[in-house]
């Protein structure tokens, strides 16, 4: 399997779904300052943010952008059992709204807690099928 399924995977107490394609860019700053402005801004490390939106981002003063729209797949893990499922591969426990660049097992992911029972996972496109399998077969 090289592509991830378009249909969600339904487990008794959690659900994994493929989110629709979006524009994703890494914004880099070379000095400390406020985060860039975009529809969705995710923390990605010191002076680094991931921007997610419906249209391409214009480069603004103070930030350099690297387009990752095709480099990442976006998954949503949700449900009362989502946190426990995630804990089988991830060491971080996030507060609502927080993000972390972390691992699921051996796979690098960018994880955001988007709600009390929902998470957004950004994963490298080439590893997306492996991540899907790791989450749904385990």
């Amino acid at each position: 399997m090289s592509e991830i399924p378009t249909l969600p995977f339904e487990a008794p107490d959690w659900r994994l779904a493929n989110k629709p394609a979006a524009h994703i860019a890494l914004a880099l700053a070379f000095a400390d300052g406020p985060a860039p402005v975009a529809a969705v801004v995710r923390n990605a490390g010191p002076r680094r943010w991931l921007l997610i939106g419906d249209a391409p981002f214009a480069e603004s003063v103070g930030f350099k952008l690297i387009d990752l729209s095709h480099a990442r797949e976006r998954l949503e893990l949700s449900g009362p059992g989502a946190a426990a499922k995630l804990a089988t591969g991830t060491s971080v426990a996030l507060a609502d709204g927080a993000s972390a660049q972390t691992l699921f097992g051996p796979l690098a992911i960018h994880l955001t807690r988007t709600g009390p029972q929902s998470y957004e996972i950004l994963v490298a496109r080439s590893f997306a099928a492996s991540l899907w399998r790791a989450l749904t077969h385990a």
């Binding site: 090289s2 880099l28 070379f30 095709h70 480099a71 990442r72 060491s91």
Partner: protein
């Protein structure tokens, strides 16, 4: 020993009868039994054989320190050797068999070793197997290996699932005895996220049922039973193993059988209790002799009397005797170790009596012994803290400044004292976390019996063997021998005698051994010290450590965005690291991969081919200092690269050796695009991160891996321009877009954004086209279609390899960590003007500039049918095949359809000075010799004219 089930008592379910098998015979026990308690209840006392002398052994403990009662459980893929019968929960249909015996447990031929024991003392095999050396491989090692270990592992695949999971808590409490329970209740009532783990399936005292019930009702408290805390790591991470479904006949496939917890705790408290020490006296290993606490446990937890005439040999014991009697066990004799001693035991496979030092014989069928207690401080000392000897406790305790410890694990004995201690330590820890807690109160409790701590290390030995380490058969005399022969340091004595090296890791034996060594050396146990505590606390299955990562899931698989395209065109795939790459594209009628690869390489050189190069590591480098940064990372100049141009780059290690190669393209003043080799992509990226973050944080540069962003295709061959021009919205003529030009453009009349690079790996006119990965499949198909009238073929990794060897391009076969740019003939590419770059100073070391070093050349086989294989060695013509005459080796080899024979790249001493010389290629593995000629490492278009057409 004639143990039996008491008419009442115990925490077993007497309504639920459970059938099980041991060594082929069916027995019955009850739900709530362990295998050991059920065997005892059936009067079975012989449960195992010791490792060295095959001595008959019975159960000594009732817990995870058991050294003797090791059995093999289960069948087929679930077969599990060396399982402690004392921790196996009984279930319907359980099958167990004894180990290390032949033909049967009761009659074991291996017991003859016992008669040879004068020759098998400590260190015997260092003395016996000294020489001659040639016997090692054929005789000694196979003998030792066959003798090693007790049980035999199964060979079938394990059908069960294993899981790893992380969790977080404010306070982790290890051990749910009185201290742990009191601490957990205190913490949970104060609102702390509390995690209590215990290795037992029914931990704790019946007197504390109410406290357990309250804890279970609190939402912020979790109790994990059947869970052993195994290890304490840096940053307050703990490992624990939960046996989720080891106690059921047929595991539910939807759940794991074992779960490896990794616990991130803010604080932790060790309440693991204390291990009772055996007494060392002659015949102390006879089945029926066991620890006093074990005898009590079997009576109180399992309703089993360990014998009809039970003796107690101890330095204390009024409380034990009383408790045994209350449970219905008859105590026939008490031998106070402070006043008397046992000097021998009688009985064959089961105890029938003991002899005391006043020559009295006492008929007993079970003997309980107690030599004092050793607190279980393993976890607190696993990270290097040295335990301290407490004369007051006659035991090693955890030092200050490591994990806090409470209850018996801290040398605080008695129910009331342990409850108080646990609660008190929890209050302290919570205060440290900023929470106010109040001591949990457990109501009025009887005063604890004052513990007797005066140690008795051994009874006077008169005859027979007195064992210190039961499983490994280490006797007092072995320790004395080690001291006499100079192995008197505790770590040396351990290894010389193997005391403490069995599956129980010396839980029962270490402190006794230390005291005996101290005695032999005239020192105190404090001066002798203790051996190092290392994870894990108890053995862990490989299944739990592997978790879900086995078989097809051993490592993740990376798929190229052109994976589906390659599948459609019939690719055969090959694993390259984590990537699945297209190796070659066989066509109908082709019977051998070489036929396919030759055809692909010929087609590219004659007309045009297309390959997937998406797996190259790709890094976008941005920022005002991007050029300066790359100038320092690469040995050749990069800041001077013009926008719209690409350059080949060499990255060195700090020590001057070559690290990786790739191409660097510049798309804007402050934007570069770098490729690395597929195999070294991660290392190269990490190297750049290190440089940016640690070496030069002052540079305003940022970068990201864009490997996954781009689907990248190589279109190579004299007709590649014609094919590509049909799709690319850019004038690809040589004038407008010369060799090493790069451009951001579009494809298919502005439909698809793209980057075009005029780069060539094959040595032909060639382009690389990159499109955002989601467009990759469609664009690859469009190019394949557009190329069809021109004879375009898809080619894979193999043909790519053939063409790069024909061109003398290097890969990590040549960049092998021992080669310099000079060795590879690329010294002239390196800038002598740049003030600095990584590797500049050390690449000029004398040794690296030695003209006698092995340097890169080409080889052509003289016989067109003769093979040349990578890894083969080079001999001068006429030299004898020996390592003394070795002059280098073949790094890459293939059959070249262009040359018509095998060709190779090789690193050969003074190679470039020896062009034209005939040498012998020696493949020692196959004893194959091929005559070859040294040539320049380029077999196609040495003037590179084809790149510029």
């Amino acid at each position: 020993m004639t143990a039996f089930r008491l008419a009442q008592g115990g925490r077993i379910d007497r309504e639920r009868r459970v059938a099980f098998r041991f060594d082929g015979k069916t027995y019955h026990g009850h739900h709530g039994d362990t295998l050991a308690s059920a065997l005892l209840a059936n009067g079975v006392s012989l449960m195992g054989r010791s490792f060295k002398y095959h001595r008959p052994r019975g159960v000594v403990t009732s817990g995870s320190a058991e050294p003797n009662a090791l059995v093999t459980i289960g069948e087929g893929g679930r077969r599990e050797p060396n399982v402690r019968a004392t921790v196996v929960e009984l279930y319907e249909g359980l099958t167990a068999e004894s180990q290390n015996r032949w033909p049967s447990l009761a009659f074991d031929v291996g017991a003859v070793n016992g008669l040879l024991s004068p020759f098998l003392a400590a260190g015997f095999y260092y003395k016996t197997f000294m020489g001659p050396a040639h016997l090692w491989e054929r005789l000694y090692e196979p003998l030792i290996r066959r003798a090693a270990g007790l049980g035999r592992a199964g060979t079938q695949a394990d059908p069960d699932a294993y899981e790893k999971v992380w969790t977080h808590c404010d306070l982790l409490i290890v051990g749910a005895g009185p201290a742990g329970l009191a601490a957990a209740l205190t913490a949970a009532r104060a609102g702390a996220d509390t995690l209590l783990v215990d290795e037992n399936f029914a931990p704790g005292d019946a007197a504390l049922d109410a406290a357990r019930a309250e804890l279970a009702s609190l939402p912020n408290a979790r109790l994990l039973t059947r869970t052993t805390a195994l290890a304490w790591y840096d940053d307050m991470v703990f490992a624990a193993l939960e046996r989720v479904q080891k106690h059921v006949a047929t595991p539910d496939p939807a759940a794991p059988v074992e779960r490896l917890w990794r616990i991130q705790a803010k604080r932790a408290l060790l309440c693991a209790g204390a291990e009772e020490r055996p007494l060392v006296f002659s015949g102390n290993d006879r089945p029926g002799v066991m620890l006093a606490q074990a005898g009590l446990d079997y009576a109180r937890r399992f309703g089993v009397a360990v014998g009809r005439r039970v003796g107690l040999f101890s330095n204390a014991g009024a409380g034990v005797v009383q408790a045994l009697k209350q449970s219905g066990v008859e105590v026939a004799a008490v031998i106070d170790a402070r006043k008397a001693a046992i000097v021998g035991t009688q009985g064959g496979l089961a105890l029938s009596g003991v002899e005391t030092d006043d020559r009295r014989r006492i008929d007993l069928d079970a003997l309980l012994m107690s030599g004092g207690f050793s607190p279980r401080i393993h976890l607190a000392c696993q990270r290097g803290a040295r335990p301290r000897w407490s004369e007051q406790h006659a035991a090693f305790l955890a030092p200050e400044g490591t994990l806090p410890v409470a209850g018996a694990a801290a040398g605080v004995y008695g129910l009331k004292a342990a409850l108080d201690d646990g609660a008190r330590r929890a209050v302290e820890i919570l205060a440290d976390l900023g929470r106010i807690a109040t001591l949990a109160n457990f109501g009025p409790l009887p005063e604890d019996e004052a513990p007797e701590v005066r140690p008795i290390w051994r009874a006077p030995s008169t005859k027979g063997k007195a064992f210190v380490d039961f499983q490994n058969d280490v006797q007092v005399e072995d320790l004395n021998l080690a001291v006499r022969e100079g192995y008197d340091h505790v770590e040396l004595a351990k290894r010389y005698t193997t005391t403490g090296m069995a599956t129980d890791q010396g839980k029962l034996s270490n402190v006794n051994a230390i005291a005996l060594i101290a005695d032999a050396r005239g020192l105190s146990p404090e001066q002798v010290g203790i051996t190092t505590f290392r994870p894990f606390y108890t053995p862990v299955s490989f299944g739990a450590l592997a978790g879900p990562h086995r078989g097809a899931d051993f490592q993740p698989t990376r798929r190229s965005p052109l994976d589906a395209w390659a599948h459609r065109h019939g690719a055969v795939f090959i694993e390259a690291g984590q990537w699945m790459r297209s190796s070659h594209f066989p066509r109908e009628g082709e019977t051998h991969w070489r036929e396919t690869v030759d055809r692909e390489a010929r087609t590219v050189r004659a007309s045009v081919g297309m390959a997937d190069v998406s797996t190259l590591g790709k890094i976008e480098v941005v920022g005002p200092d991007a050029g300066a940064f790359l100038d320092r990372v690469y040995a050749n100049p990069m800041a001077s690269l013009k926008v719209g141009r690409a350059r080949y780059g060499l990255m060195l290690r700090e020590d001057g050796f070559l690290f990786d190669d790739g191409t660097i393209s510049r798309f804007a003043q402050d934007r570069y695009f770098v490729t690395t080799t597929t195999g070294a992509a991660v290392q190269a990226f990490e190297h750049m991160e290190f440089c940016a973050q640690v070496l030069w944080p002052e540079l305003n540069v940022g970068f990201a891996s864009v490997t996954d962003q781009w689907a990248q295709m190589a279109i190579a061959g004299p007709r590649s321009r014609e094919v590509l021009q049909k799709l690319v919205d850019l004038d690809l003529s040589n004038e407008n877009f010369p060799y090493l030009a790069v451009s951001e453009t579009t494809l298919l009349k502005s439909q698809v954004p793209a980057r075009i690079y005029r780069l060539s790996y094959s040595g032909e006119l060639a382009y690389e086209v990159a499109v955002p990965a989601g467009f990759g499949d469609a664009v690859a198909e469009a190019i394949t279609l557009a190329g069809a009238p021109h004879g375009l073929c898809c080619y894979g990794l193999e043909a790519m390899g053939v063409m790069r060897i024909e061109k003398g391009h290097i890969t990590h076969n040549e960049i092998n960590g021992t080669t310099t740019v000079e060795d590879l003939g690329m010294g002239r590419m390196i800038s002598s003007k740049k003030p600095d770059y990584i590797g500049r100073a050390l690449r000029q070391r004398e040794g690296l500039l030695d003209p006698n070093r092995q340097r890169l050349v080409g080889l052509v086989a003289l016989d067109v049918h003769a093979p040349v294989r990578a890894g083969a060695h080079i001999l001068a013509k006429g030299a004898t095949a020996s390592l003394e005459n070795d002059q280098g080796h073949v790094t890459s080899a293939c059959f070249s359809p262009h040359v018509g024979s095998a060709i190779a790249l090789a690193l050969i001493q003074r190679g470039p000075d020896r062009l034209g010389e005939e040498v012998l290629v020696w493949n020692a593995l196959a004893n194959e010799f091929t005559a070859a000629r040294i040539v320049a490492p380029c077999f196609v278009d040495p003037a590179n004219e084809r790149l510029h057409v």
